[in-house]
Amino acid sequence: MSVPAHHLVIEPPAFEDGPFGPDLLAGAVALVTGGGSGLGFGMAQGLAQAGAAVALLGRTLERTQAAAKRIAAMGGRAFACSGDVRDPAAIAAAFDAAEAALGPVTLLANNAGANFPALAEAMSPNAWRAVTRIAIDGTFFASTEFARRRIAAGGGGAIVNNSAQYVWSGFPGDAHSAAAKAAIVTLTAELAREWKPHGIRVNCIAAGFFPHADSTNGDDPTVVERLAAMMPMGRTGRMRELSWAAAFLSSPLADGISGETLVLDGAERTRRALMQPNFVPPRERTSIWGDVA
């Protein structure tokens, strides 16, 4: 169940010992969709550590406000707002509010998403629409709102999108998210091409397992330990690794990098053996994504 003691499990430096000081993104303002929790908040922390002011957009104002307080507690400048990324008007309103509070938004991190185990044949139209529209429509509408403003301002900018490690393999029992997250990778490349003349870079992080309180399996230590033993690197991702990757791709250090997808999964997607456990269709499993009890 656990990682054998003779295996070498490499941990990253502590968050407080991060690679970037507050000068890297000084003067930048980042809007983070889905920024109130999970991976979105992780990206916001990285951007704030590197000196950006962050506007946190989420469905629930109370949650983004609590997240903004945490950013402020680490010495960052943050603003909380709420809205549904499926609604272009709500996105425009969030940008207006963020810019009134913090100044022109120069960075965008698209994290808003939803995911849950579901059998495709049993999935309701609402379930399909919710997951695909939050991820695909939300990323598209937030990106286009950002780009229109940056093109008008003439100052360039950077976008980092959040995708997943299963976009190249598919994910039985997760058809809605598998489709949606793959769309984000191809959208990243196309928007990078389209907005390159305007100095807007668009990149993507295909994230593996980064357990947090709001993920499907939560951050229960027993589950995380079992997940760690499943991973080639002997552990799940640490949120600070996502934080720093987002800050790097958003920063001037990555000027010239655009249209790319950084896979941040500890090689989990490449795990393969000739002989594997018997295949069990999702509908016949104890749980759709596999037993984690």
Binding site: V3, H7, L8, V9, I10, E11, P12, P13, G18, P19, F20, G21, D23, L24, A189, A192, R193, K196, P197, G208, M231, P232, M233, G234, G237, R238, E241, W244, A245, F248, L253, A254, D255, G256, I257, S258, G259, E260, T261, L262, V263, L264, D265, G266, A267, R269, T270, R271, R272
Partner: protein
């Protein structure tokens, strides 16, 4: 900003301007870089933290113009030596019970030999990434059109290529493993 590779010892292998560009960039973020044209199994390298291999620049030739010697030279210099360097470095890491980082850089284009090398390199990196993950040895690659077939680097991409290389080799990206990416592969009309 901290020096991403402070105290790290890195060996940059291969030929072409790209080797010099990357070595200079890594030096600039605190690494101590050595350079060599090819992996030497007998060279003292027990204390290396990372190996970068850029391959060997070769002008693209039509497939019908490649004879056995030309074809084999491309495969030997550009693919075989990368494998030997990766495995040689990994064995040293295993022996020392310490982790390490491997980065392969390659031009995206350059004829049939380059195409086959890059295909092999792509899946080699993914395979080694998982195979050595529990040894703390990471393997990643950057395959980009911004490195030209002759080993020169697009002047506008030198900074980005250096920064990305440093980032991928650093401890701060320690969950990036088996990743193959570019720098900016977009072509605008």
């Amino acid at each position: 900003m901290k020096a991403l590779l402070a105290g790290k010892r890195v060996l940059v292998l291969g030929m072409g301007e790209v080797a010099d560009v990357v070595a200079a960039a890594l030096d600039g973020v605190g690494a101590t870089c050595g350079q060599a044209h090819a992996w030497d199994e007998t060279a003292p390298s027990a204390d290396l933290d990372a190996v970068v291999h850029v391959g060997v620049a070769k002008a693209a030739a039509p497939a019908t113009a490649l004879d056995l010697a030309g074809w084999r030279a491309a495969q030997s210099d550009d693919l075989d030596d990368r494998f030997f360097a990766a495995t040689g470095f990994a064995r040293r890491c295993f022996a020392g019970k310490r982790g390490g980082s491997i980065l392969m850089l390659s031009p995206a284009h350059g004829g049939a030999a380059r195409a086959s090398v890059n295909g092999a390199l792509d899946n080699l990196v993914k395979s080694l990434g998982a195979e050595w993950a529990r040894d703390g040895v990471r393997t990643n690659a950057v395959i980009t059109r911004r490195i030209k077939a002759d080993g020169t680097v697009d002047p506008g991409a030198r900074r980005a290529l250096g920064a990305l290389s440093a980032w991928l080799l650093s401890d701060y990206s320690s969950y990036v493993n088996g990743c193959v990416m570019g720098v900016d592969e977009t072509e605008t009309a």
